[in-house]
Symmetry: C2
Subunit: 349 residues, 2 copies
């Protein structure tokens, strides 16, 4: 039986322009609430307009996505944290160069428009932008039938920040003797979810998966689902006030690749960052996942943040006192001289 229409419309092909138009108006209202004095005009132009920062500043930009954490959120129909995830991820990236965020653009790709879910996501984005003084000045919601799996979607963020050219953090200030201060993560942030889904078998049977995620393990203060959906944390409020003093020599955002790969990006040749694995408590969520998946130590280190979401490479004079000054974090290692062909960052027992 041929049930295909004889006269095709875009809506029948899976793209509803009327729904999009309605949603765009609601998104514009949310975005307007994030506007800072730098924004010129509003939403609706072909591009978002923003005043240039001072001439002695550098623009710092980054693009990233929430990744497969969205599948977990879709399973539990809990969309509110995902917007926070992408904004905080992007903020932490430009902050690692010493920059404060100026403006943000979001992209949502999805198979079929679920206006309530999209609005919840954009509400989270707008909230996180507002908190950070970062203007949401552009975005796109694309209905792409056939591209995403049913119910799946991708959330991409692009951020532009600014830093004084002579304050930019690029690793060149790091020297032997510097202290590594690790700041706690809020869970998995946005990395490792494909492995989590595989290990917990979340893709096989939605009902079984929901039941598993509703369980509260003995070691936990919340259900597994809640622990896994906790939003990516922003380190902006904690780290920004430290940047003017010059004691922070480098910053590393611990995302895909884990502690060593990300820390290595800011350690210059001839130096090595040595992280001591026993120097901070690895949250039980990670041990639980490792045991359930029989994941090797090496793989755990490469895939997950293991409880450290951000690392400050700081002057030895102040580094040891920093955790108590900040009210959180741990001294997790130090920088030493090293041969040029040695790895720039290693995890020690």
């Amino acid at each position: 039986m041929n049930t295909q229409p004889t006269a095709w419309t875009y809506a029948q092909a899976g793209v509803d322009l009327d729904d999009v138009a309605q949603l765009k108006r609601r998104i514009a209202t949310l975005a307007a609430q994030t506007f800072t004095p730098g924004v010129v005009g509003g939403i609706g132009h072909f591009g978002g307009l923003f005043r240039t920062p001072g001439e002695n500043m550098l623009l710092v930009s980054s693009v990233d996505s929430v990744g497969t954490k969205v599948l977990l959120a879709a399973l539990l129909e809990r969309y509110d944290g995902l917007g926070i995830d992408i904004v905080h991820h992007c903020i932490n990236d430009v902050l690692a160069c010493g920059a404060r965020p100026l403006f943000f653009l979001d992209y949502l790709g999805l198979s079929r428009l679920n206006p309530a879910a999209v609005e919840a996501i954009v509400r989270g984005i707008a909230h996180a932008c507002h908190e950070a003084g970062c203007a949401l000045i552009g975005g796109e919601t694309a209905q792409l039938p056939g591209l995403y799996r049913d119910g799946a979607f991708d959330i991409v963020g692009c951020i532009v920040g600014a830093v004084w050219a002579d304050h930019v953090l690029d690793g060149s200030a790091v020297r032997a003797g510097d202290v590594l201060v690790g700041l706690p993560s809020n869970g998995l942030h946005t990395n490792g979810y494909s492995l989590v889904r595989a290990v917990l078998g979340l893709d096989d049977d939605p009902q079984r998966a929901r039941a598993l995620l509703a369980e509260q393990p003995a070691w936990a203060e919340a259900s597994l689902g809640e622990l896994l959906l906790r939003p990516h944390r922003s380190y902006l409020p904690l780290v920004l006030p430290l940047l003017d003093s010059g004691v922070v020599h480098a910053l590393a955002h611990i995302t895909g690749g884990g502690i060593c790969e990300n820390l290595a990006r800011v350690i210059p040749p001839g130096l090595q960052a040595r992280v001591r694995r026993q120097s901070w408590p690895i949250p039980p969520l990670f041990s639980f996942l490792q045991e359930r998946g029989q994941i090797s130590d090496e793989e755990m280190v490469r895939v997950f943040n293991l409880g450290i979401g951000y690392i400050l490479v700081v002057d030895a004079q102040v580094g040891h006192a920093l955790p108590s000054q900040l009210g959180e974090g741990w001294v997790i290692g130090e920088v030493v001289t090293s041969a040029h062909d040695e790895p720039r960052a290693v995890l020690m027992p």
Copy 2:
């Protein structure tokens, strides 16, 4: 039978970090070839660094994706044009505000890494960036198993450009009597592909779809597949030289929503842009699709560009001579006074 591994690795869960690391090095080489004097440092920092333009300039930014055109490209294993598509799409958006592009960031989300395809796409991105004097300073390739359909992927681009604050095009310069000059598109650009796939039944049987796309219709100079995959055209070389003279009052990039919706975005209240449908030749590809899908005229206008990729709203003094000056394009209408509640752009017979 349980074929699942007892000791899970990220690679078994569908994410191969080794492949990603190799690919990242090749992408960094391609990106370096696009660098302009504004770029500071290189690839590998947590953010891309770029010098701020002059203080009297505005930053103009936009984010967008190639959309479901990628499914057609995947079907034909022809990935080289997609990078050009996304860069040109983004360039045309910021150009519509009067801005020239400064830098670009790309995001590729995919179900499973196909390094050759990714490299072809990024090569296209780098090529188009280089041609436009736009630096590719950041990007992300995300392996997201379970999120995209098998073989499917999404290509997202984010661009930042700059325009002198007193030269920004926001529609406010448009006045009654202005002439509309339409510039030819290169095909469908990046809009309407979900409808094309539905109309041509491309999703049902890949072999049948490939055979259909290999056909060269009597009216065409190339196969249907080639016509449909032609990259989105950049209007930067044609339009940028016109901007300093002040005769261009507004620009509209014809994307999703078609001629009227996009033109309406730059027409102020109290004015109306009237486009005459008979004033340019609608390419036979569009008539072919309309007939095949029995698509209504209204739907055609909303979904496709109908042969017009960009519209210049120009001073009447120079507008009529512009097509011959440019060597292409047509005068396709004019701006008239109108009641405030009238549509800002209409298509006339």
